[in-house]
């Protein structure tokens, strides 16, 4: 598989993961581009025998997203006092009810991340755990907790 093929095949997955993870469309677009730039530099290290390209790209996307979160935290610490952060109206995807969109928005980044990997990208527990750097059991626990929160939020909204 060439890099072009991998990029073409998994662009939507990476974008979707980053969009749900960051809950910011513009940030997700930027981070998607950064992810593929970094992936291109690291492509020589990719070993198809160790895992599929999608998992590898998600791992890079996660690192890129975490870097973004860190820099964003530093920035907001400086700027939060001067002006409150701007709330951007974001849609997680076509076909989701407004209640579910709102419930997803209320989840933490970590919870959205695990939902994106396990539900949106439909990764199995082992693969998602590898991307997250945790054990599969821990991954499943996080997913259940996030889904329960969503369920409760939807129940309250109903």
């Amino acid at each position: 598989m060439t890099f072009q093929q991998a990029a073409e095949a998994h662009l939507d997955d990476v974008y979707g993961y980053l969009a749900w993870f960051t809950s910011d469309r513009f940030v997700a677009e930027d981070l998607t581009a950064v992810t593929f730039e970094r992936a291109l530099r690291l492509w020589h290290r990719f070993d198809p025998e160790r895992g599929p390209a999608r998992t590898w790209l998600c791992q890079i996307a996660r690192t890129v997203a975490l870097d973004h979160f860190r820099s964003e935290r530093r920035r907001t610490r400086r700027e939060e006092l001067a002006a409150p952060p701007e709330q951007i109206d974001f849609r997680f995807g076509e076909g989701l009810s407004p209640d579910l969109e709102a419930a997803l928005g209320r989840l933490s980044a970590g919870e959205r991340e695990v939902v994106a990997l396990r539900v949106l990208l439909d990764l199995d527990a082992g693969t998602a755990a590898r991307v997250l750097g945790i054990s599969p059991t821990n991954c499943t626990t996080r997913l259940n907790r996030a889904l329960k929160k969503l369920e409760e939020a939807l129940h309250v909204a109903a």
Binding site: L11, Y15, G16, E29, F36, L40, L66, V119, L120, L154
Partner: protein
Amino acid sequence: MSQRDLVAELRAARVEAPPEVRERVRLVAAAAPAPPRRFTWRRAFVVAVPVAAAVAASIVFTRPSHHEQTATPLGRVAGLPATVRAAPAGAATKELAVPSAKQRVQVVGTTLSLRTHKVSDGVKRAVRIVTSLGGYPVSVHAQTEGKEATADLTLKVPRGHVQQAMSRLAQLGTIVAENVDVQDRTADLNATDRTIARLQKRLSDLRAAKASKAQVDALTNRIQALQRSEAATRRAAHYATIDLHLETPQAAAPVHKGHGPLHGIGVAFRYIGIGAAYALAIGGPAIVLLVLVWLAVRLVRRRREEALLSR
């Protein structure tokens, strides 16, 4: 809404990258160079195994074998004088024949090394044999150390019985080594006889010519010295000297068959094992410390990550 419905709705969500992102990524991917030949362990293994085999084969087959190393000493043994015969360990050989001519004056010296379980008895019997043949022991040195015993005897036997003595002594044990040395002194003695006859004739001439007493005495002394030397030679020739060495059998040494073709590899693995043991002993605590540090760093990083993503 049940959790199953919730998951189904989430899965139904379509998230597609906007066209501008798609174009941007396409541009990035277009800059990708041709994939280089990837280094894989399988590829490295395919190259490394034949190379290692070739190196090992060159080491194994070019190093001198043990048999070649031992060839030189064996060659030296073969080059020894014919009088020395080294018998194989544990194998009895026939004693050497002692060439003897009774009419001639010969100085005979023999050495005999025997291996016997009873060195002390061997000494006694050797002395008895020599005495029975009209000989006598000149010196006897016996030594015992643990289960090993040795004895060195110097025996004198009338020259006429030396062959018989050697035969009987050889029966005391297993012959390990044997040496016979015969020096014919007849020609020397004949020459001495002629010198004495010439000097005696000269002495009688001097007496007839009424020479000075000093001249006569000097000549007489010289004749007597020659006669004493001749007598000593004849006495020495009358007895043959037998140096007898007795020893207990040594513990059988393991038969060294030389090294097999894989000996070098075995030695290499042994040294690698020793090195690994040292590395483990020295590097073990360092590795444990590094692992602990790594675990601590991982824990801190994960905590920070969780805090970062909890918002």
